[in-house]
Symmetry: C2
């Protein structure tokens, strides 16, 4: 199958190289409106060739949008106008706005909204890495609104990346990602800003920072180009979740100020339950990789 990947950054580049390497794509066409990115992606061997958007659409069976979600919303309706039998998918972190943008399009059924839950805090084709998606989960939204064939092809693509697919309503997806992805990013951005502001007065403040700080602030390296449009498109959910997060922080602050040691112990013990979640997650990832190795052997 000939696959075109539109947008050769961290996500598009990592996807492209594994689709090639693992044989899902017989040919991998890359498109990027930044000529430097296109050049780098070709040079790094992430794609077989670079084409312009127009030619890529015409020359491929499957078109994957891996660009920021605001650019996706702009490009998708006209892209859908230009396809014949091609399947289209995207990898964006918000789904509702994008789906609405083509909800009445005659070719809507050839589009499969998706969201692989993987990434790093880096960007650009030089940040692309093999195996980025291994063991992770990919969401496919509203499969009943796409043809069975289209859903099967997109699911196959994710399986070839050693991912497991979860099918989900797009409204649920946007609400849940606000909790488990978008909130994490804002918490890291705000943590970074809080300490950077303090650095102006306390020049050596970062001397004391250790691995724990690195871990909580890591996502603050993520780019505005990708994240501002996500927060905007998902503002209803993100606003609600942020309020809950602020309320919980305020609760901590009140307990600390009241010297309520039992109250603090209770909150922390409750928060510790995240161990169960993270252990289960790790098991799921190992299980997914094992299964895909077995499937390949069979």
């Amino acid at each position: 199958m000939i696959v075109s990947v539109i947008g050769l950054g961290l996500i598009g580049g990592s996807l492209a190289v594994d689709l090639k390497q693992r044989g899902f794509a017989s040919k991998l066409i890359g498109v990027d409106n930044n000529p430097m990115h296109a050049h780098t992606a070709k040079k790094l061997g992430l794609v077989d060739e670079i084409q312009d958007l127009q030619s890529a659409i015409q020359n491929s069976h499957l078109i994957v949008l891996a660009i920021p979600v605001d650019a996706c919303v702009k490009i998708l309706p006209t892209l859908m106008d230009q396809i014949d039998l091609q399947i289209v998918t995207d990898l964006g972190s918000t789904k509702e706005k994008l789906i609405t943008s083509i909800s009445n399009h005659p070719k809507r059924k050839q589009y499969v909204p998706a969201h692989p839950m993987a990434g790093t805090e880096f960007s650009g084709p030089q940040a692309a890495q093999r195996g980025l998606f291994d063991g992770k989960c990919s969401i496919i939204c509203n499969p009943e609104d796409s043809t069975k064939e289209a859903v099967a092809i997109v699911a196959d693509m994710f399986h070839s990346l050693k991912m497991r697919c979860v099918y989900m309503d797009s409204e649920v997806h946007d609400r849940q990602t606000a909790y488990v992805s978008h909130l994490s990013h804002i918490s890291a951005f705000a943590l970074s800003l809080t300490v950077l502001h303090k650095e102006k007065a306390d020049k050596h403040i970062f001397e004391l920072a250790s691995g724990g700080f690195d871990s909580t602030v890591r996502l603050a390296k993520s780019s505005a180009e990708m994240w501002t449009p996500i927060f905007q498109q998902n503002k209803k959910n993100v606003g609600k979740v942020l309020q809950k997060y602020i309320d919980t922080l305020q609760q901590f602050k009140d307990l600390i100020e009241m010297d309520d040691l039992d109250g603090m112990d209770n909150l922390i013990n409750e928060a510790n339950d995240i161990r169960r979640v993270l252990d289960q997650k790790e098991k799921n990832e190992q299980e997914t990789i094992k299964k895909s190795v077995k499937a390949k052997r069979a």
Copy 2:
């Protein structure tokens, strides 16, 4: 030098094993009021032998307190009453309260308040690991209030762990750790609680969680036993820092709700400056390890 480590959890256990292995301690005595922890530490080879507190104080040259900060404040004054020429240090995350607790003690000069900036989210002797402190920074507070010899011995101990020492006023230490350590922990606890509460209604919410979530929430595994007393002892600073963090989150929320894309871009671009800080930190750590390898060879 005979060293006693009081408290054989993650920090005490990791310290003990490296002080032994790297030859700083000719004998390593372990003390823990939890007999299971003492047994495990001995079995894992973290210490040479287990003694009760009384004997350990009498039998060692250097006594290291590696217990929660509330227990430290309780034990330190009576411990100081019992020493002869021994040097005492501690590894706690707050320093002001502890220093105040013995400020008029006749042996105050034999005590060196310290804080090695390293750790993980796990606890207990089974969580101890070799090399935990390699390359990291250790704070020594108010060195002018201790004898030169005592400070030199404690600094030597940290150098043998491949750490670099930074000397700092205890008030500055407590203010700065509120920013770069205590806030990170509360941000993670609150993140965990926010998503765990949502899990009650959305059973599958963690299916979507990916590496970014893991990273920001990791510290939420940390124990109440260790962290509640830290927040209490540093409540003045932690309260202020938490308020700044909440204000920054609120600023994000307002910008998102007003669709202020430029405002969001600006905040995120500013937060991205954390790249500089983390890169510098990594360089410092590598440099410190290199230097200690050289010093050992010389």
